[in-house]
Symmetry: C2
Subunit: 223 residues, 2 copies
């Protein structure tokens, strides 16, 4: 390993947050980002009004689309609220203009659908939540089933918890392997999932069917 450097390059990171988002989608990677040596993080939305996630957590934006400087990394997550704004022109314009100049264009979970709608995934492979793969494919995106898909400067994570693996991948891209390893250790990311059912391939059709029934029963149909 090389020695830690005293003069770290500076990066501006923009995380789009919105009503009905799954907060963990972005709180996973934002925890990685917040520990990076020299970053400026903006949590961006149309207004600064508090936002309620689909998990009921209320979080606050700190920057509006209008006030957001050009970012080096643009990131957006998914959530049950995404369908309500998937064609929102103001949001898609923001993503497009930031994405066209950013070093890295990124998403977690269903967030890749926003990138696709903004025209930022044409000719790229990308990941999404397993249940959203058909939808992303319909938008002409080549869907990767890996947990994190890196295609040139597009970095996209799979469902919800994949945001942590994704965040560490971005950390490496920005500051190198040492910092990514340190971040992983400080977040104690040595997962021991209780079951081996975290992907559709591992879960199998019976559990997938049960999960779909369960979602309908507990949360109602996807909006």
């Amino acid at each position: 390993m090389t020695e830690l450097k005293p003069n770290w390059p500076r990066y501006v990171i923009g995380i789009v947050i919105y009503p009905g988002m799954t907060t963990l989608d972005v709180i996973g990677p934002q925890t990685v980002f917040a520990g990076l040596p020299n970053v400026e993080i903006h949590r961006v939305w149309k207004t600064l009004a508090p936002i309620t996630g689909d998990d009921g957590m209320v979080i606050e934006p700190d920057t509006t689309f209008t006030d957001c400087p050009p970012v080096d990394v643009i990131c957006i997550g998914g959530g049950r609220g995404q369908s309500a704004i998937i064609d929102d022109a103001e949001l898609l314009d923001f993503l497009k203009s930031q994405g066209e100049q950013a070093k890295f264009v990124t998403s977690v979970c269903g967030g890749s659908e926003f990138l696709a709608k903004a025209g930022l995934l044409e000719g790229y492979r990308a990941a999404t939540h397993w249940a959203a793969r058909p939808k992303l494919a319909e938008l002409g995106v080549e869907v990767g089933t890996e947990r994190v898909v890196v295609d040139r400067n597009r970095m996209t994570g799979g469902g919800v918890t994949a945001g942590i693996d994704f965040g560490l991948t971005v950390a490496k891209a920005l500051y190198g392997e040492d910092v990514a390893k340190i971040s992983q250790l400080l977040m104690e990311y040595d997962p021991v999932p209780p079951y081996d059912v975290g992907s559709p391939e591992k879960a199998g059709p019976e559990l997938i069917e049960k999960a779909m029934q369960y979602m309908l029963q507990t949360m109602g149909p996807m909006p």
Copy 2:
């Protein structure tokens, strides 16, 4: 697997949030909890004023200590802000009174230090962030190095990301294995950490030393 049940038992879950907390500590498990079939979740603090985490994310409590009903699950996380309030009488009284009647007394990361200070870990084993193990041991707690430690009705997770494994463990305790498996699948928790350095045992002394230097350099000394 058994069939999903239509009439799920109801549980009240109280998550203590506070200034300088690591939001991911509790947003991990709260994402699991929010997907459970019949729960009432309270995000509790002294006042309803917005709270800034040690990652810069601003989140909002929805319930004060005074207004919080008796909970079935009490949970608290850690963070760089914890030392400022580790002896706060109002907080410790709340934890103690809730903990004495709750079905499950729980924490993630450094949050176990609060439980210990409230007298809730006497004679129990518990987990904490790897860097906080000596501190927890000093409080007379038998420190477990597993990612999630379950000792009778005490359930405690290790550092930061262990909150997800912990949350799934609580889900199983409340609603059984089917629901825990479905939760894991819906959160796509099939982790692929980029490196094998997520615990101090795996990281080894050189990376641990580097991580300590890095924290000092980027965040300053632990308060």
